[in-house]
Symmetry: C2
Subunit: 175 residues, 2 copies
């Protein structure tokens, strides 16, 4: 791997590793909004799975001779600002954010990963694998809408807002 | 296993499973107090490890035909009250709480586990295994005291308070 390539790969692994750490935080916080103990445990398990991904990404950084905290640091403020600006106020908003946020990020990173060496690509694609969110979220959101149809409209607006915010994450200061 | 035994085992697995879930919550919250990205990631990993234990305990409940949320429910208010009453106000207090709290709980549950069937005992003893806390906590607390000796006195008082609170967790309403 050339020095330029290594630096680009370190950036990509760094942003993904920090994204997983913030996903953990977000899911751990949302777990506390859960209306049931079973829902709380389900979100806590998803949060733990994100840390599993985070560990694989930081292990790969270490293998490449890059210090993980240093690789993550450039992305902290932009990702934190996104999460601060889109803090869910209900359990259902939290679920939709997990779904929309991860979906968009997954599509984006999967496209980029196609250009990488095969070892790094495998780790990235694996770290993007669904931690069981989709099925759980779809089930809970559908049930909530069935019980109370106008919840659907409110969550659709929330989903669109998330899409907009995520597309404008400020990357101008990224390396 | 007799019906009485099964019920006692379900209670023990239930309280431990909920304790692991609250340990996850606490470590996830404390992770956000971390002064460095590396410290934050280290605590998030520990939180994820607690969920690994939680999953093993709830899987065992399911094997025994007991619904996990139902087995955890009787212990929610007492354990939540303990955590509410001993919320750390600094990163170091959080580390000491993880250390003292887990240490006491581990000793207690290990003693009880000696009376259980060997399958359940193995799962419980495994769920009590150190998720890397001790080494990390001791290192960070020692370094902090070396930098600023009077931190040691404050943390010692905090540790004693935790011991007192933990010994008086209200178990009178437990099944």
């Amino acid at each position: 791997m050339s020095e330029v390539d290594r630096s680009a790969v370190a950036d990509l692994l760094g942003v993904l590793a920090y994204a997983e750490l913030t996903a953990f935080d977000r899911l751990a916080e949302d777990a506390r909004l859960a209306p049931t103990l079973a829902g709380r445990a389900a979100l806590a398990r998803m949060a733990a799975a994100e840390i599993g991904h985070h560990v694989r990404l930081t292990d790969r950084l270490t293998e490449l001779g890059v210090e993980p905290a240093g690789a993550m640091a450039p992305f902290v403020s932009a990702l934190d600002a996104f999460h601060e600006g889109t803090r869910p106020s209900t359990w259902l908003e939290g679920l939709v954010k997990a779904y929309v946020g991860d979906g968009l990020a997954t599509d984006f990173y999967r496209e980029i990963a196609a250009f990488l060496d095969s070892d790094t690509r495998a780790i990235i694609v694996d770290s993007l694998s669904d931690a069981g969110q989709s099925e759980f979220v779809i089930d809970r959101v559908r049930r909530a809408i069935a019980r109370e149809p106008r919840v659907g409209g409110r969550l659709a607006l929330w989903g669109r807002r998330l899409m907009g915010e995520e597309r404008t994450i400020d990357v101008t200061e990224w390396p």
